[in-house]
């Protein structure tokens, strides 16, 4: 009997129960705590905050736990929560020049004021599995020991007030000057995207865009699809204070601190009809420690600036703002991609009818053509 689409409600409930059991896994093992995720999977937390466009480590950790480690699912949870939050104001722009850097490198100058700070990087590690980590040994320490270590960290590992490298080039007029503006940037999450988009809007889309997608586009520019000859002028990771003006007080106060990664690229540029030969810039800024994303973002940002710099549009995907902005969001992409799992039998039915009809006519044509072909042959014999 016809039962295929019945029982949807019970099926959904049962699926949810099974999912929650699978999420927890083997219950003889202790459950993951949010603190453990924040402390030991911090780069995962950073990615979920960046692409979820919400700086909150605890919520990101919760989303990761709830999504069984499916990061796009976790990002989706963050976004869906974020959109329900009221906006009670806007912070002042953060000053990355005042960042407490844990890492700061330049690939364009051997040394510069502020120095090169390698920081906690994978760059020069040998990618050999460390089987010691697999051993169960617990390196937990006491609260007292922790406090001592923390003081040590604060004194020795953070440097403040490090000037931006590109400013040195700017003094000689060798790098293009960014146009300063105090206009309130558009908000991608509050207005529908309309093209052409401002650079601020493009950067917003890129910073919350999918890391893999932005990386792939950036890589394509390096391989010749709108090559823009990028050097990492500076890459810095650290903490910035977030300040907000409180009208009732009449002054601004610190409301917290966020970790961010900033990348400024210096790009070769031979000049165009509009601009003299000079270095040009690409910019990347991402929540958390996320240098791959920040560098990628800077390269794609630079590629999309072809119009303002008077370069040619060579048809490369990374230059095409409509292509980039409409496809970099992984929540939109995954939703539309995965929705083809939903029932489509009505559409499919109408396609079935159409194909049957067209096929019948085509076959009839073939038959007719065959018998026509045969006749003159016989006649020739």
């Amino acid at each position: 009997m016809y039962v295929a689409v019945k029982g949807g409600e019970r099926a959904i409930d049962a699926a949810h129960d099974w999912l929650s059991e699978e999420r927890r896994g083997d219950r003889r093992l202790p459950a993951l705590s949010l603190d453990q995720i924040i402390e030991q999977l911090s780069l995962t937390v950073a990615r979920v905050m960046a692409e979820g466009s919400l700086y909150d480590q605890e919520l990101a950790a919760l989303a990761i736990k709830q999504s069984r480690g499916d990061l796009i699912e976790a990002i989706f949870l963050m976004r869906a929560y974020r959109t329900t939050l009221p906006r009670f104001g806007y912070s002042n722009p953060i000053d990355t020049g005042k960042m407490s850097c844990i890492r700061r490198i330049s690939a364009t100058f051997k040394d510069a004021p502020g120095g090169q700070i390698l920081g906690p990087t994978f760059d020069y590690t040998h990618r050999l599995l460390d089987f010691k980590l697999a051993a169960e040994g617990d390196d937990k320490i006491s609260d007292d020991e922790y406090d001592t270590l923390k003081v040590h960290h604060e004194v020795h590992e953070q440097s403040k007030d490090i000037p931006h490298i590109t400013e040195f080039l700017n003094k000689d007029g060798l790098i293009q000057t960014e146009v300063e503006s105090d206009t309130t940037p558009d908000d991608l999450t509050r207005e529908p995207l309309e093209l052409p988009a401002s650079r601020a809007l493009r950067l917003q889309a890129l910073t919350r865009g999918d890391e893999g997608f932005v990386l792939g586009l950036a890589y394509s520019t390096q391989r010749g699809y709108a090559r823009n000859h990028a050097f990492v002028g500076e890459l810095r990771i650290g903490y910035c204070d977030v300040e907000m003006d409180i009208p009732e007080l009449g002054f601004s106060i610190d409301i917290g601190e966020i970790q961010i990664t900033e990348c400024e690229t210096v790009n070769q540029f031979k000049g165009s009809k509009k601009e003299p030969p000079q270095f040009t810039r690409g910019y990347g800024l991402v929540f958390g420690q996320s240098e791959r994303k920040a560098i990628s973002m800077a390269l794609v940002d630079r590629a999309m600036r072809w119009k303002e710099l008077g370069e040619d549009f060579v048809g490369a995907p990374a230059q095409d703002e409509e292509f980039v902005l409409y496809h970099c969001d992984n929540i939109q992409a995954t939703g539309f991609l995965e929705h083809i799992k939903l029932p489509h039998y009505v559409d499919f039915q109408s396609e079935l009818e159409l194909i049957r009809k067209i096929r019948k006519e085509a076959l009839a044509h073939q038959e007719a053509a065959k018998s026509e072909d045969n006749q003159p042959l016989e006649a020739a014999e």
Binding site: P192, L193, E322, I331, T334, F336, L342, D347, S350
Partner: protein, 291 residues
Amino acid sequence: MSEYNFAYLDEQTKRMIRRAILKGLAIPGYQVPFASREMPMPYGWGTGGVQVSAACLMPEDVLKVIDQGADDTTNAVSIRKFFEKTANVETTAATSEATLIQTRHRIPEEDLTEDQILVYQVPIPEPLRFLEPRETETRKMHALEEYGLMYVKLYEDISQHGQIATSYSYPLKIEGRYVMDPSPIPKFDNPKMEMSAIQLFGAGREQRIYAVPPYTKAVSLDFEDYPFEAMKAEGCCALCGADHTYLDEVIIDDDGGRMFVCSDTDYCESRRAAGHVGAQGTPQNQEAAAS
């Protein structure tokens, strides 16, 4: 769910959506950009329709949700539950009892009335999208009423296949001006679009809302010598015997045996309740006695 506003969205967002709806009604068939929100269900699951429904729902509304014509398909169940939870409105499966119907891929068989709103979930609102992928270009084409490309496509279909090879999402011209995508409803449903109810279309991911007001001209594109033809599977519903409804094909055994049944489950059930019996159906009173 007291932590969320009535029908989930906050009032500011609803106001923004209502303005887009009003603009859409004022310019039938025109795609109005709106600041679509991230909903707690994925894009592609009907977020546009859900936002439009949320902006229209009033506490006294009676809601019906269908997917593929049926009230009990998984996603229809999920969306209905969402509004039961967040808006606490009465829900129904009966088309005539509903004041607001959210649908995916079908128009109910029963005629709708002036007191009803039909909300469509739309995946790709742009009828020209697969002829021209750029939004910047297609918006220009609509503005200039330049629909030649679409007619060329229909013509090429006829020259290659002897007929227009579009079976769903079949484009219509609304009130003699905008060419509109009716969402992926089968073209069987296109003639029903000139109706008494308000029709609203929500595309969440693509951030577009559009509308067809009651009694608006909605003409499926065609040629004089190749007129538009609504199409459905030949045959009758095996359960209720209807020969005028859109039918789903159901495979019933390993040898590919099949039967056809109404895709509109509520319509089929009410016909059976009224005593209609199809070739493989059992009269309703017997079924009740058996269970």
